[in-house]
Subunit: 105 residues, 2 copies
Amino acid sequence: MEAVAEQVFVALADPSRRSILAALASGGPATATDLANRLPITRQAIAKHLTLLTDAGLVTPEHGERRRVRFRLHSAPMQVAQQFLAAMARDWDSRLDALKDHLER
Amino acid sequence: MEAVAEQVFVALADPSRRSILAALASGGPATATDLANRLPITRQAIAKHLTLLTDAGLVTPEHGERRRVRFRLHSAPMQVAQQFLAAMARDWDSRLDALKDHLER
DNA sequence: GCTTGACGCAACCCGAGAGTTGCAATATGT
DNA sequence: ACATATTGCAACTCTCGGGTTGCGTCAAGC
């Protein structure tokens, strides 16, 4: 679970990757060349990002006709990362509360 | 809000920074030299990470006695990032639902 | 059969960031 | 007064990742 969350953080830390995800979210599943037409970077750079996003589980490749590969969004890893963030914040706040209780005692 | 979330993602993408946050979470507020004793990296490297974490709002410096500066965790930006993730996942899923509805019609 | 468009792979460039070493300043203890 | 400890700043190295260029390959259309 922590490994998935880390991959999601790494993926979302890059602005180009966020642009790719935003393009997929607004325009639906698309290929690397489609994204290259919409974004100011090369198809190969987008392909690299897509492999990283695929490893993170944020995107799944779908082999279609005419050797085209369309990529579709997958939100499950983001929910895992969200749970991870929630647990982390809860942990921190519980420590703060414990310290506060200790000082008040 | 998106800027805060991005800073949190960048901060959590680095394993050293996660180690620092984990050390602060388990051991309470500490100085850079304290963290340097617990972690396998130099104090200066930790200091750089702490400035980045301070810019992200995840940590706040507290000037104490004897020129010591202790850093305390702050969970608010993580909750903002969590909200951001939730909104993003909700956006993706709503698009999937809209597409499904369109296909079923 | 030949062109056209799309994908994959490999090599290369380059800037950013993670880490270290070194030093100056400052404050505390004896 | 002097030694010790801690912080901040600056310069340097070096690896890694984002990006490009180039080429080979494979499927479809004419």
